[in-house]
Amino acid sequence: MIQVKDISKSFESNDVLKNITIDFHPGKVNFIIGRSGSGKSVLTKCIVGLMEVNKGEILFDGRNFTAMDRWDRRGIRQEMGMLFQGSALFDSMTVEENVMFPLKMYSNMTKQEMQARVDFCLERVNLSGKNKLFPSEISGGMQKRTGIARAISMNPKYLFCDEPNSGLDPETAIVIDNLIKEITYEFNITTVVVSHDMNSVIEIGDFINFIYKGEMCWQGDRSQILRSDNDILNNFVFPSEFMKEIKDVLRRER
């Protein structure tokens, strides 16, 4: 469980996050959604410690991450996996070396054990056989999947995915979504997904946090999101006339 307690973050005079409080639950896919520029990426970066918060604290299973120095944070970092928006694969390394990198750095495994683990992770994301290719030689979707394989190679307790299916075709997007959902349930991971893709929110979102202009605007699960009375949320979820009609149908059903 990750607890975000009343955090604020500003850049000079620009208050990007204002008093955000969220709980992220283990074994669940927790979503952060919101309009472009609402502060989702900044929030994620604050949670994982790539940015420092101005106020508030972040607890990982009760351990106060905010109060730790960077060396103590390394312990918790090794329990995290992160999929970056642009995949952020190491382009001087092959697919296999990318996935093996965290193992080489921090596990005490033998070479054979590492190889077995890498093969398992690549198998899990349907990339068996692509071991020796470089990131520049595979497609965007494959890069995302390699990113996921790297993120799960150390058996993380916490998984962060920043826009896991942006720039992918709808079918591949669903494959990635399902992958995230399956590994979350399978390994009881606390998963945090940043997205503005309503499709995946409805498809795999267990808990949804809607951020509006840096403030927490709405929290709930996926059945509630379709029936909410929150106007700002509704404008986000049902942006077009067509979608609003769908909303009315849903209303009437209720």
Partner: protein, 247 residues
């Protein structure tokens, strides 16, 4: 002016991170060998080429300038030696390497920064500054002195070849000039300088790459800045070291 203090502050901070709590020793060995190849071996050609031509030119120029008959011929060998050992092999070679190696390092690390590869390392828990920068610093400190020695040898040899083949000096005169009032410390002086310059080039270039913000355009700017700052710092430290070591 505050800008300079900010640079100095961040640069120091990066160096502190580079040298505290590096990752497993075993991992660094391979990285250092890779960097020795990239920084050193792949610069061998250009260094040798430059030194050969420089040695030849210094020899011919000196010969052209001592036509008077008052100055003995062996001065040509002496001058070539002094130029090659004292300034060319360390300072000029390092200035050129700062262009080649420095821009390379800054753009490599800068690209990793803007594509979030460095963030990805930090998330994994790796000390990214140390992992990326330390092998480059160590490799350059190991390999630069060798490059400098090779430059000296090439320059002096080229001087001898060109001097004798064009007939401006005999080999005996050249050799006499080479050994005339030779102080071995001058070689140490140059090697010390090359180690300092190696550190400047790799750490300053890494610094500019590591703190790149933005996109491809900024990576280009970082690598230009890496070269400019390296050159300035090399010139300043060249002056300081010369005053400290030779006087």
């Amino acid at each position: 002016m505050t800008n300079i203090y900010r640079h100095i502050g961040r640069y120091t901070l990066m160096l502190v991170n580079v040298f505290t709590r590096p990752e497993k020793r075993k991992l660094y060995r391979k990285l250092i060998i890779d960097e020795i190849d990239k920084i050193g071996i792949q610069s061998l050609g250009i260094v040798a080429l430059l030194a050969l031509f420089m040695g030849a030119v210094v020899t011919l120029q000196t010969a052209a300038n001592i036509d008077s008959g008052w100055i003995p011929k062996w001065t040509i060998g002496f001058t070539t030696r002094q130029t090659m050992i004292l300034e060319f092999s360390s300072t000029i070679v390092c200035l050129i390497l700062s262009g080649k190696v420095g821009s390379n390092i800054a753009s490599e690390i800068g690209t990793m920064r803007i594509t979030e590869q460095i963030d990805a390392m930090d998330i994994i828990g790796v000390n990214s500054a140390s992992y990326l920068v330390l092998p480059k610093i160590i490799a350059s400190i190991i390999i630069f002195p060798f490059l400098v020695i090779i430059a000296m040898a090439c320059g002096i040899t080229a001087g001898a070849l060109i001097g004798t083949s064009t007939g401006v000096i005999s080999l005996t005169d050249y050799e006499y000039g080479l050994t005339y009032s030779f102080e071995p410390f001058q070689v140490s002086y140059t090697l010390i300088k090359s180690v300092v310059f190696a550190f400047i080039i790799t750490s300053v270039s890494s610094y500019h790459g590591y703190y790149t913000k933005g996109g491809a355009l900024e990576v280009g700017q970082s690598s230009t800045r890496a070269v400019v700052y390296s050159i300035i710092l090399i010139m300043i430290s060249n002056y300081i070291l010369t005053q400290l070591l030779l006087l």
